[in-house]
């Protein structure tokens, strides 16, 4: 546990010292937040749309088995294949099997958080399989060997000079760091890759139960390339990313584009029902849908945690979070950062030792819950997770002792009064200009960074009889 704590502190320290990352995170989240505000105001009746989004997603999660069963049947009817993966390792193995069956040499991928969750790139690269990210942001961070720092702007932390240096080895010559030059280079380089690829791997913004369709929401067009040009398509889907029909999709697309980037609709929204039909001129001939559980069913089993499954991965909660704003995505250490990442990661990973810190990456201000287009009570869930972490016994000795002390004093009035009196005198050596500025551990952990108000000479409990008579 101490090792895990050191790792977290090292990550936090690194992020806090990275001035560009912090500046870029502030700028990026400000832009996305303002775009969203504008798009929702223009739209009008946003709260009614959020309520509809919440109702739809709650309904889907409450009937998840029915809709997944229907989806699986429809994909089979359409001529596709469905595979279920309980764990990330199983999902990776399913992808590897398909690659092996087809002797595929080159795999291309559009943006997929599930592929990040199962660490697909690393797993395939370990066995010498070439896999290329095609979303510009993902392409950049793949070259840098880094995880995404924002759910919809994965290379938010990179500046254009760093990106030019990453592209130069591929170009074989120096590159201008102007955005159009970098974009143009990526277009040319990746176009060749799209045309040569054997398999395209996509994520899944939504699956439609009654048609067996997959919906991709993108801006660059790489999602369309990946799902159109290679002869085989694999789609990775978290098991909760489903909607009953196109009727509900209309509502969710209105919520997703506006919440994510402030767009009414993204440049491309593709409703795909693969494989291609017999007479079609293009599109994949073979389609595999891999549905991942990875402890989502644990969330499903717990009615208090179930609302987290409503998430549509828009990233709106990132853009309002004061903690994310200060530390950026990498400090979380998890694939999913921000408030939703802090909620789902400890459950998905089923590991309080390494991920139990995440529910504390929050000021509990509630801005995330207000921003969520499907009304997930994120800050309430963070409190619930803290409770679960304590119940699991995965807390530090010092924390347990402090809480025992708290209980000891705060459960008896006389004992508390005596302790406050004693504290008033004991704190004196540590007070400068009316504030506590230093102290012994564990107080020193606080005073290292900030000061603390001292214990008053006359406690509130002593003053209360006077207030009480005034009130009466």
């Amino acid at each position: 546990m101490h090792k895990a704590k050191r790792v977290v502190q090292a990550r936090l320290s690194k992020s806090l010292q990275d001035h560009y990352l912090r500046q870029a995170t502030r700028r990026g989240t400000d832009t996305l937040r303002h775009n969203k505000e504008k798009a929702t105001l223009d739209f009008g009746n946003w709260e009614k749309w959020r309520t509809a989004g919440e109702a739809i997603r709650t309904h889907v999660i409450a009937n998840l088995d029915y809709y997944l069963k229907q989806l699986i049947e429809q994909v089979h009817n359409n001529g596709g294949h469905v595979e279920i993966a309980s764990t990330p390792a199983e999902a990776v193995e399913l992808v590897r099997t398909i690659i092996k069956q087809h002797h595929a040499q080159l795999i291309i991928k559009s943006k997929s958080m599930v592929s990040e969750e199962i660490h697909l790139n690393q797993a395939l690269q370990t066995i010498g399989q070439k896999i290329v990210e095609t979303d510009l942001g993902e392409f950049i961070i793949q070259l840098a060997g880094e995880p995404p720092s924002h759910i919809i702007a994965p290379a938010l932390h990179k500046n254009r000079d760093q990106i030019a240096r990453l592209f130069e080895p591929l170009a074989g010559h120096p590159l201008s760091s102007a955005t159009p030059a970098l974009t143009s280079f990526a277009r040319e380089k990746l176009r060749q890759t799209f045309l040569a690829a054997d398999i395209g791997i996509t994520g899944c913004n939504f699956a439609i139960a009654n048609t067996g369709s997959i919906v991709l929401v993108t801006n660059e067009g790489n999602g369309r390339m990946v799902s159109t040009l290679p002869p085989i398509q694999i789609t990775l889907m978290g098991m909760e990313r489903i909607l009953p029909s196109f009727r509900e999709l209309g509502v969710m697309l209105n919520l997703l584009g506006r919440s994510a980037t402030g767009q009414r609709l993204t440049s491309y929204t593709s409703i795909l029902t693969p494989p291609r039909q017999k007479e079609d001129q293009d599109g994949p001939r073979e389609f595999h849908l891999i549905i991942l559980d990875h402890n989502r069913s644990r969330m499903l089993a717990n009615p208090e945690l179930r609302p987290a499954l409503r998430c549509i991965r828009c990233g709106a909660c990132f853009n309002v979070c004061p903690v994310y704003r200060q530390i950026g995505g990498h400090a979380y250490g998890s694939v999913y950062a921000g408030p939703i990442g802090a909620v789902i990661t400890p459950i998905l990973e089923d590991d309080w030792n390494n991920w139990g810190h995440l529910p504390y990456f929050s000021s509990l201000c509630g801005a995330c819950s207000e921003a969520c287009p499907v009304k997930i009570p994120l800050h309430g869930l963070l409190i619930k997770l803290r409770e679960l972490k304590v119940a699991s016994g995965c807390t530090e000795l010092a924390e347990r002792q402090v809480m025992k002390g708290y209980q000891h004093y705060f459960s008896h009035a006389r004992r508390l009064r005596r302790a406050l009196k004693w504290s008033y005198y004991a704190q004196r050596p540590f007070i400068r200009r009316g504030r506590i500025v230093s102290g012994p551990p564990p107080l020193s952990a606080w005073t290292k960074c900030r000061t603390l108000a001292p214990v008053a000479k006359t406690s509130f409990m002593e003053l209360w009889p006077m207030f009480e008579s005034e009130i009466e």
Binding site: G28, W49, A52, A55, I56, H59, A62, L64, D65, Y66, L68, K69, I84, S86, L136, G137, A153, P154, A155, N159, R160, P180, T183, A186, R187, F194, N219, E220, G221, N222, R224, S227, T228, L229, P244, F246, R247, E248, G250, V251, L253, N254, Q263, R264, L265, T266, S267, Y268, T269, S270, I271, L272, T273, P274, Q277, D280, D282, D293, S297, L300
Partner: protein, 228 residues
């Protein structure tokens, strides 16, 4: 994991058997903008399409359409003479075909026999129709089929769509309601402006992978019948 075991496991997590009948759908009662006049719809569609980065115009004759294309394409027209510089759907409307005949440039109908690498290199303009236009977002909706290659609106650096005015719908939900009546094709593409990205320092750049420029010509549907 076996599919039925998976579904049973989920049902047990939900502490009940899997429903046999479809669950009652959620009531969606959302305020929608009242229907606008046809002229207001056209103006709003073009306004939103242009906000998304596209160029568009209403045309009522082949010569008007030709004039707009000459203005938009400018000197690029010189590069469109050699096939397959212009690729198009196999079932383009009469108005679209007549416009390009008048312009004097050949359209290569897209088919699977064409070499994609060559198309990617040589095609400069992709021409499609559109099943619907969504006013509220400035979006084109294209349903793929055997005559409508998906790459036509994707590979070339420019995409031009011919949209009959009577195919305008106010909002996405109306289009979804119409799509529910059809059996789904392999791809339904909603296109709202050119390919874009803000992945480099949140700086907007156009034409990352898909078309860099997108154009729409809105025309009265009866022109197709007159040209039969």
């Amino acid at each position: 994991m076996d599919e039925s075991t998976f579904i049973q496991a989920l049902a047990s997590r939900l502490a009940r058997p899997t429903p046999v009948h479809p669950p009652t759908a959620v009531n969606i009662d959302l305020p929608l903008v009242p229907p606008a006049t046809p002229d207001a719809m056209i103006a709003a569609f073009l306004g939103n399409w242009q906000t998304a980065g596209g160029k568009g115009a209403v045309v009522r004759s082949i010569s008007e359409a030709t004039l707009h294309l000459k203005t938009w394409l400018g000197s690029e027209l010189n590069n469109l003479a050699a096939e397959p510089a212009i690729i198009g759907w196999g079932d383009l409307s009469n108005f679209a075909k007549a416009t390009f005949t008048n312009l004097g440039y050949p359209i290569t109908p897209y088919s699977k026999n064409l070499d994609l690498a060559e198309l990617s290199e040589c095609s400069k303009l992709g021409i499609t129709g559109a099943d619907w236009g969504i006013v509220q977002s400035g979006t084109l909706v294209n349903i793929s089929n055997q005559h409508r290659g998906r790459v036509v609106s994707l590979l070339p650096p420019k995409h031009l769509a011919f949209l009959p005015i009577n195919s305008l719908r106010d909002n996405l939900n109306q289009v979804m309601a119409e799509l529910m009546k059809l059996s789904p094709s392999a791809a339904i593409e909603f296109i709202t402006g050119p390919s874009r990205s803000a992945d480099i320092e949140m700086d907007l750049s156009i034409g990352v992978h898909g078309p860099k420029e997108v154009f729409v010509l809105l025309y009265p549907a009866d022109l197709d019948e007159l040209l039969l």
